[in-house]
Symmetry: C2
Subunit: 569 residues, 2 copies
């Protein structure tokens, strides 16, 4: 391959502040979702108006201890909220809607645009935040003029019903934003990704295409959800006692198949887990989930039923420690599992969760439970289009420019290479990070700048208070613990009144080890006070920090956090 044939992130590296946006040019900036799977949020700007597509959260990794959620960095738009026309939500998954409450806290009357189910899910979530949003419900085939953006909504198939792609027509050009999708040709609800619409958009001209890249490095085609039903039925037929199925709480079609298999085998179903109960109640009310009369029972009534008449449909398939499945595995749940029960993990295994999930599988197996998971049976299919499906898309749409979104670097590159193989020139592949600024006009897309994008951490009730510095402290505390040294000093006499006292936590040392350093601290402190009575408390604390830090490094071969406290009396 010559260099012009190689897809890289190169173009992106030398760019700095974007130029002022000219009238009639469309600007696209992702505030999250690039280089990561999560916190999807893309801002379209034209003639002073902003249209946002999706507003999701990212789940933290072990490098971010104590963090609950990570939000898109909204700094880019926070002073321009009055210019926001609305937020299009492509579907109801957390990585696409989870940050909406935090956006609406900044300005409550930003309209939300989405399908019936998507809006119902976000409304339920906003209710917990005591926010009643302005909404506009749209359907596939519908077009809405949102400021300078004409949005046509199109059906796409995904692992949640009622997902939409959006074709955004503007004076600057046409953009097709898929949201998450796959191309199951035999979906349970018959609602396929609308390739006829994609073809029509292609004929008309798609100047910029933003496809879901998540599975771009998976060869072939994602299997149909329909293949799972027979496997579930077979496992249900073989099960002699209770069946517990764990999956995602928004996967309506998966739950539907569990309910259908239960009905066939004359079992009752109890939904377990707050989000499972809430989402399925919404899905049923709106007609997305079909529940035969009398099949659902309350968890508390399960114990009255014979074991071979029970299915528990629960959350916790990713090993979340507080979820029902984990508690059942540890014997901390009212449902006590034992030999002969069957647990089916009808879910993916999200990278990073392997240890937690296998810990649960081992614990269940130790109890004698028969555990079935995607490693042993086809009880899960992905929600994202694989490489083969993306090739269909590129060939039908023939986009002028492609900006792969919704993926890590490796996914974005794979998606770009597929585009290139179908004929998109390398220079028309927008390889972007969060904050990379792409301008589009007259069929030409160009990276014109880069804005700073940080992680915005949610920790408990606090948003954005946890800094990367705090997380560094937490990692040090986790690895090394801390040593606190307390000393009361009389400045007049230059003498130590009390201490030094040492308190250590998380440091693997005996109290005796610390006795050794106390005289060194005392000596250094008294010298410091004697030599220069002008020392500030802070300077005296620095003396302690130096003595203890170098002693711990030398003698203990450790680098704990040193917390010196000098009290002047």
């Amino acid at each position: 391959m010559t260099s012009s044939d190689t897809v890289t992130f190169d173009s992106n590296r030398s760019v700095a502040n974007p130029p002022k946006l000219r009238p009639g040019t469309l600007r696209i900036v992702a505030l999250g979702g690039l280089g990561e799977v999560g916190r999807n949020m893309t801002v379209y700007e034209l003639d002073g108006k902003l249209l946002i597509v999706d507003c999701g959260v990212l789940f933290p990794e072990e490098e971010q201890p104590g963090v609950d959620l990570i939000l898109p960095d909204m700094g880019h738009i926070k002073d321009r909220l009055d210019d926001v026309i609305g937020v299009v939500l492509t579907h109801g998954h957390e990585d696409h809607i989870g940050a909406v409450p935090y956006l609406l806290r900044l300005k409550q009357d930003i309209p939300l645009i989405g399908s019936q189910l998507t809006l119902a899910l976000i409304e339920a979530k906003l209710q917990e935040h005591r926010i009643r949003p302005l909404t506009l419900t749209v359907k596939e085939g519908q077009t809405e003029q949102l400021g300078p953006f004409s949005c046509e909504f199109t059906a796409v198939n995904h692992s949640i019903p009622d997902a939409l792609a959006v074709m955004i027509r503007t004076v600057a050009g046409n953009v097709l934003h898929t949201g998450d999708f796959k191309m199951d040709q035999l979906p349970l609800d018959g609602r396929i990704t609308d390739l006829r619409a994609f073809a029509r958009f292609g004929e008309e001209g798609v100047d910029l295409f933003l496809p879901d890249s998540t599975n771009a490095d998976v060869p072939g085609f994602t299997a149909t959800e329909r293949e799972i039903g027979p496997v579930l039925e077979q496992k249900f037929a073989a099960a002699k006692q209770r069946i517990i199925v764990a999956s995602f709480s928004s996967h309506v079609h998966r739950v539907q198949q569990v309910i259908d298999a239960a009905a066939k085998h004359r079992r009752k179903v109890a939904l377990v887990g707050r989000s499972m109960v809430r989402n399925m109640s919404i899905a049923e009310k709106l007609g997305y989930l079909h529940v035969p009369e009398g099949i659902l029972v309350d968890l508390k009534d399960v114990e009255k039923l014979a074991d071979d008449r029970v299915v528990l449909m629960c959350t916790g398939s990713q090993g979340e420690p507080m979820a029902a499945l984990s508690r059942m595995a540890n014997g901390d749940h009212r449902i006590k599992l034992n030999q002969g029960d069957t647990v089916i993990l009808a879910s993916s295994l999200i990278p990073g969760n392997e240890n937690s999930v296998f810990r649960i599988i081992n614990s269940l197996m130790y109890l004698g439970v028969d555990v079935i998971h995607k490693g042993t049976a086809r009880v899960h299919v992905s929600g994202h289009a694989s490489a083969g499906e993306l090739l269909y898309c590129y060939n039908i749409i023939k986009p002028k420019n492609v900006m792969p979104v919704h993926g890590e670097t490796r996914h974005q590159l794979a998606a770009a290479k597929l585009a290139h193989q179908t004929g998109v020139p390398v220079k028309n592949l927008m390889m972007c990070d969060d904050g990379t600024v792409v301008d589009l006009k007259g069929g030409v897309a160009k990276i014109v700048g880069q804005i700073d994008i940080g992680y915005v951490y949610v920790d408990g009730s606090k948003v954005g208070l946890v800094t990367d510095e705090d997380l560094k402290d937490r990692r040090v505390l986790a690895e090394e613990g801390f040593i606190s040294v307390v000393c009361a000093v009389n400045r007049q006499t230059g003498k130590i009144v009390t201490g030094p006292d040492i308190l250590a936590r998380g440091v693997a040392e005996t109290d005796r080890a610390f006795e050794e350093v106390k005289p060194k601290i005392a000596q250094a402190l008294e010298e410091a006070v004697r030599d220069n009575k002008g020392h500030t408390t802070h300077q005296l604390q620095q003396v302690i920090r130096r003595v203890v830090g170098s002693w711990a490094g030398r003698k203990l071969r450790r680098r704990p956090m040193i917390v010196p406290v000098v009290v002047e009396v």
Copy 2:
């Protein structure tokens, strides 16, 4: 399946202290390696003498922050070290030899028995600990009488050369302990797992069989190492610039294939990483690695070579942050990778390391590096026998009793089910945890007790000082940080002299938030001193802990560690 057909850990649950061991009965206790992959160590006891097989380490998970290694719990033998005849080391991997230095620190003259390469590797490691061990080098086919244990050593094939199984003959019965193995029928060095010996042992009678269970839940057969060579060659032929191969530092055959491919494509090889350099130098000296004259170069000379003449063979394939590969990905290494370079991860992906490894892959790809890994090409095969191979073993050996070792619960159960399918009755399957006591006599194996086995943590230079309580502290510190409150109190006047001062680290709060709680602390303290002058310092600190803890829970919705310090003046 009837209950007697179901393999479970049941038998194990009700047992308590083992009975006194009678003369002529063989007792088997694993001090590590069951329910986990790592810290393999099995103790055989007969007529007052102990034979140990393997003595390895376990690598910690994210639940064990700051821990470097986890050792087998040697409490069971620590008062009986004079009875230890020796330690048989089946092969030179860390999970089988890594804890030897810690055992020899307890008693330096315990003999080590193993193959030439295995002993060379442990001797190099012991040199760093300044220990010169007593050793007995053995070969396949050789029998040694070790106290009451007659040990015949047998060649097995694994992902390190010179691995041995051991047939232990005693008055109580015969035990075949495989160590780690697979049954590559075309290994690079021609040294296959000796099924003729296994057949002979079977004819003679194997009363208890302890097989490597690691891949028992993987269907079929592990592919031959030989398949990797052509793939490497093809990638080497296509590479236009530098090639970096990452793998395990003990995988002599993998390195051999890299060297062979490099020689064929007229590239020089630099070994990178301390353990890689050390192990390969040992392997070459002993004749396990064949290095063509002049092919190896020093890392510092690599820069003088043209990019298409270079291969770097390095460690870090599991994403270890300090290893060469990770530093290259982050641009922190003297070798600066860029567009057109090729990185091959010729390694497995150990569960739990996914995030770190994919982070490196993403960073490399972002630099424009072509990354090849086992997900995209056959550049790795496992070192362990899959289900198909284990079936061959069971059928050739026809063991009376089976105790699956070297695996998590799910692996042990899979190995046991395979044994059962070949005809081993369920009651003859020893489903054991670490510390489960199995007695063998006259062809009958029985679980007779359970001894307590804990985790022994190595943290820096300290062994066993870190407790589970410390780790709990560390996890709290990581998730929540700490709030330290310092107050100087004059007991005579009952007044606070200085403070309360608050210092928080890792807590996501503004300083202003803490101002709110200070008067509450002061008030509670003064009340406590006023009400009862007999309060100890500890009690006053408890007062602070209560006030701050409940305030943080209520107002901040957090549970940080509270560190109260009261100085009495």
